[in-house]
Amino acid sequence: MAEIIQNEGGKQKGKKRSKRHSTHIDMTPMVDLACLLLTFFMLTTAFSKAKVMEIVLPEKVKDPKTAKAPEVDDKRALNIILVEGDKVLWYNGLANPAKPPLPTLNVTDFSDEGIRRVLLQRNKDLFIQIEEMNIAVTAGTLKLSNDTITARRKKMMTKDVIGPVVLIKAADNVKYRNIVDIIDEMAITNIARYALIDINDVEKKMVADYLAATGSNAASNK
């Protein structure tokens, strides 16, 4: 083991033995303890801190009489309705019962080729703009600090006038996972404007009709 070796060879004979005893200290218990503590601290240390996704919601309308909901351009609106069973329904424009016909619902899912494709298709210009900046930064041709990148990204988003305004709605019995997934898709596809809003009665009916229609289709296929 770890020892302090003192060379006293051959000097013992005849001479008066000195009081200096050889200092062999057994360090084994100390090393054992150090090992034990080391293992303990290695196992209990939490290196990865939890990550958070920040969302800012518009302030709640306190008095529904005086306050007016913000108008959304018919051409830019993209509605996403989440329904039970990880399904995503979407339609373009706004559903206005005064102006029939009602838009048709399209069904998709959370896969890479699902809702992400729809969003990318609509948000192509802004996405390419931001992605090109990111690529230039990683390639080293553009030297910017992280803060500047975030600021530029934000600026591009505020300037965006042709990208979609995504309205996210959730039907009953939707799991929290789906909401996080869809907000995450907004971050992935660099959508500039999106909002989480409550589903209205017209849409509730549209979803019910859609589910009934697909349900009967499935039954007739059998």
Binding site: L38, E54, E131, I179
Partner: protein
Amino acid sequence: MGKIKIHANPPKIDMTPMVDLFFLLLVFFILTATFRPQEAVMVDTPSSVSNTTTPEKHIITLTISRDNMVFFNVDNGVDTSEHLRGKILQAMGKQFSVRFTPEEIKRFEGMNSFALPMDRLKAWINEKDSEVRDGMHLGMPMDSTDNQLQYWIRMSRIYYPEFDVAIKGDAAADYKQVKKVIDILQDNNVNKFNLTTNLESVEISMENL
């Protein structure tokens, strides 16, 4: 005659460098250790691409478990000299006319998230067995008739208005419950939230556009 001597004791290995290294690592781990606080409930958070880290102090954490129970926790980080938890508990005690002894307030300051109505809180604080304590949670009352979650948030923000709010929901929790929590927060003028998630990276190639 001419006998070969066999060394009785094995060769000595100098362990000093190894021990030095051990101590170095030990000191490093001791200094960097941040202990994971004992959670009242296990939550499987959904994943996202977000790479922002959780704020370390002055944070209200609302945990929503798999079975839709809402847990409340308020954390003032490593600096415990502010005694925020104790002050908030006292204010809540006053509001709901429950008296807490100084010992109970001190114990509460070192505790974690809870999902209990005010009248059960005292028993939870005084319970010594942590397993029994974890089994006591019933869910935070948050109906319109008895909205205690609202009071907890309000009292916390009276003592420290800049509290960050993190919502730590289980992936399988109902959105309805999360929405209810968000509504209560918005009633208290909290419009910025942090949703706790796991990191997951996503790549989109430009050619596919």
